[in-house]
Symmetry: D2
Subunit: 286 residues, 4 copies
């Protein structure tokens, strides 16, 4: 079975980086299937970002060899880099409370082959969705949380994530704020769906507040979670048009459609290694 490598690089910009990187690949007989590149300009100088997808077949470097072979080039140019292999899908955990629309949509897409991931577990602070998750053959963990057990529950969640070797956490309407410790353990690896077009209506109850303000569009935002609530790097956003006739309940219903679409796209991009983070903003190589 064929597989590809995905190589993600960022480093200070300078002349000759593409030549250096692509020559390295060519030297090892690699076939570049796609190449994306971007330079982010800042006063302190540019930052170079690159994503390469390289055919595994015929490539001269074995998995164990790649790091050693690439290290001198990486060191020379001060690169942050990572490589992944398409036959080793990421391990994704989904955290959810009671709203099931994002969860069910992700499970259906996963089951349809749309998401390159393994889903070793779903965790919820409510028991309601156990049967729906288990119908997909995925273990469901109910870890209730109360005002006094918040820290303890979070520890249990972290233990489970570690135990199952999770490398992507999706908050599919998980109505709990994560501690800095939790967030710090998974930098740029926790995706949240916020039910408004951030930065509008950051915080709680966005549909009610959107209705009160009388907006004519509602939206949803998928973003990486950082310590500051609802302020992490935005991955994707979309909106739907609404009218004066739409009640708060209508906004919730319409919003569900936007939320699941936006979240699914962000998750797919992450699983395909299309996202880099540039100083609080995302670079998305669609």
């Amino acid at each position: 079975m064929g597989y590809n490598l995905r190589l993600l690089i960022s480093c200070p910009d300078k002349k000759g980086l593409i030549a250096a990187i692509s020559s390295f690949v060519a030297m090892h007989d690699g076939n570049i299937l796609s190449a994306d590149q971007y330079v982010s300009e800042r006063e302190s100088g540019g930052t170079f970002f690159m994503r390469l997808e390289i055919e595994g077949e015929g490539f001269g470097l074995e998995r164990g060899e790649f790091g050693g072979a690439f290290a001198p080039l990486a060191r020379k140019h001060g690169m942050d880099w990572r490589v992944s292999y398409t036959d080793t899908p990421k391990r994704m955990a989904i955290l959810v409370s009671r709203h099931d629309h994002c969860l069910m949509d992700l499970l259906w897409r996963w089951d349809s082959g749309e998401l390159e991931a393994e889903i070793p577990l779903v965790i919820s602070n409510h028991p309601d969705l156990a049967a729906r998750v288990e119908a997909y053959g995925i273990p469901f963990h109910h870890l209730p949380v109360g005002p006094e057990t918040k820290a303890e529950q979070e520890s249990e969640v972290l233990d489970l994530l570690a135990k199952y070797g999770v490398d992507l956490i999706v908050l599919a309407r998980y109505m709990q704020i994560l501690s800095p410790k939790f967030v710090g353990a998974y930098p740029d690896k926790i995706i949240n769906i916020h039910h408004s077009f951030l930065p509008a209506f950051a915080g709680a109850d966005p549909y009610r507040r959107a209705h009160e303000r009388g907006v004519k569009t509602i939206g949803a935002t998928a973003h990486y979670v950082t310590e500051e609530l609802d302020a992490g790097p935005i991955i994707h956003q979309d909106v739907a048009h609404v009218t004066h006739r739409d009640t708060v309940e209508d906004l919730v219903l319409l919003g569900r459609e936007v939320e699941r679409r936006v979240l699914a796209r962000a998750v797919r991009w992450h699983l395909q290694d299309r996202i880099l983070v540039d100083n609080g903003r995302t670079v998305v190589f669609e």
Copy 2:
């Protein structure tokens, strides 16, 4: 030449309003071309909104007679109402600073017959756009404004608006904040275009702030101007998708397209008497 009446009504909701109003029209041999109705629910009870378009030909009430004939019904139900005639277009003034995209778009649409209005004048605090406006045969008034002449200049603007009998003021990127006195003189008759999807990035420089936040959509909002800056009833909003590659300048350029589209639609709806204001929110009978 044919003309229509447009009757806009709001009043406390109760049974039988549609029957009462449509029977009044039928009694005077009126042909209803379109009827829109909406009830806004609030804890204190519902409010009824209605828009009727009635064929002028064959209608039994002359212009001078309508008010007297309708008054008893209006009084009985506590109606706020107004009637307009399609052969008496509204008189619209455009206020602009230096950015000409919204202005030129409105002028072109007006010239193409898309906007049912007369434009007796354009006012600007800069002289730059005089030739472009005068090419359309519209008088251009340059009223410069400085830190010490703000109140004085505003008085001159108000004098001009009164002199020309203006009943709609469009702020087509007019970078001046209007005083409460000015706003109070034209309630729900001043339309502003804000270059963001409010309430996000209210205030100045929204494209720069959107870029810094790394949003994936930008937008524009047309709203009625109220005393509180950028908080008036929203008439229309739309967005455009952007990526990490878009610079602030790209956002400005893309945003111009959204701004002019959103503003034009809001102005057209206002000119067609399609908008009512319901407690800080608009009811738009598209």
Copy 3:
């Protein structure tokens, strides 16, 4: 429990129809919750369409009485009309082949309370989706079809639909062409989802043909089924943007998202009695 009436009317246009209808309602103490009206102009004269939603509580006509009371008015104006009650949901059958995305989306929405319907059965010409349907507690009927058993299978389908008292049939990617007899038995009661923005790519394999043509948008169309293939009245359409990078498989994947969104909205509108058919085109009172 409260319920509403929904009254749909079409008839030749003339003066006074709204007054006549709304006065009838008022006379029987009906509270009109929403009223929509439209006149379709044709050379042969206009046609009047109206949809009223009337509060059941306090309305003076019992279910059994409405027809008799309304008949004289209907006869006088030559009305086609029907009334439905929101506490008597429609009975919807879903027909599906192997693609499950539209089916699963409808079932999930139905289960979430988004669709006002009963679903007494799902019918498929393949056995694959039985478990997924039965997980929602809905009977699944597998009626295979072969080149020689087409007529026979269709008879069985019709028998089942009759037996279960179905009044809406949704073809959720049911890859069989229905006979004129079948179509004639359910006029404006069969909704199909076509995976292109009709009339482009009518017929088979639209995504492949869209890819070959190099279009930059793909779409989906929900329409009522008529004898002529893919030519029935269009209820709803939407599109997604694509690029040269998208393969046929990508179009299929993206298209699934559009298809399910478009179909769900069309079904919801139908279930809420928002759709009338006007000479091959739909009138949709959103």
Copy 4:
């Protein structure tokens, strides 16, 4: 003043192309500002497409030298290629009949600095728009056409285009069909705006036909002109939603907005050398 080079390449796909090209640039001290790449898969083997934007300052090859230096590499890999310099804008002619919305929009954008082009002339078969064009300081040529003078008029148009050294022709609603000779003289250099989402409603009068069919979206398509009418490579498409209330005239009005937006974007991409043609389809490096 700074300038950039834009290098466009297509050739049979093989390993090492990116390395070979970027090494050539690096060898001559070139700074790659952006790089886009795409491989089109076909049964007969892949085709490689690339676009590089290289900073002029510091690049070691003078304008006159580039071709000679690049030729060996190009020959070795069988490349089709072209280079352009951003300080030598393309020379764009606009052809128009009577509808001025696309024309005026292009002129306004050009005047605002949005389009990197010179516009040496506008040609029309009607005299109506002369003043509007000349107000922008652009020569207007009126070349009327009749049933018997079609070939002759086209010759005059071609003469003018040659005389003014035009390298992009924009048909901004030019209601004349060009001869194969004309089309053949400007391969992938004539952009047309068609007022429907092709392939739907190819040919004449699309808005009327869209209305008759009762579609719920209308659209516009910008494409390169080829011999076969309305069948050339599609550059960009977009749509607008419509309802049963929209008359043919409303569709025309709404469509104008889509047409000018779609055309402007296609023209901008062409002027920025972002478009390659791949066997009847476009590759657009946005």
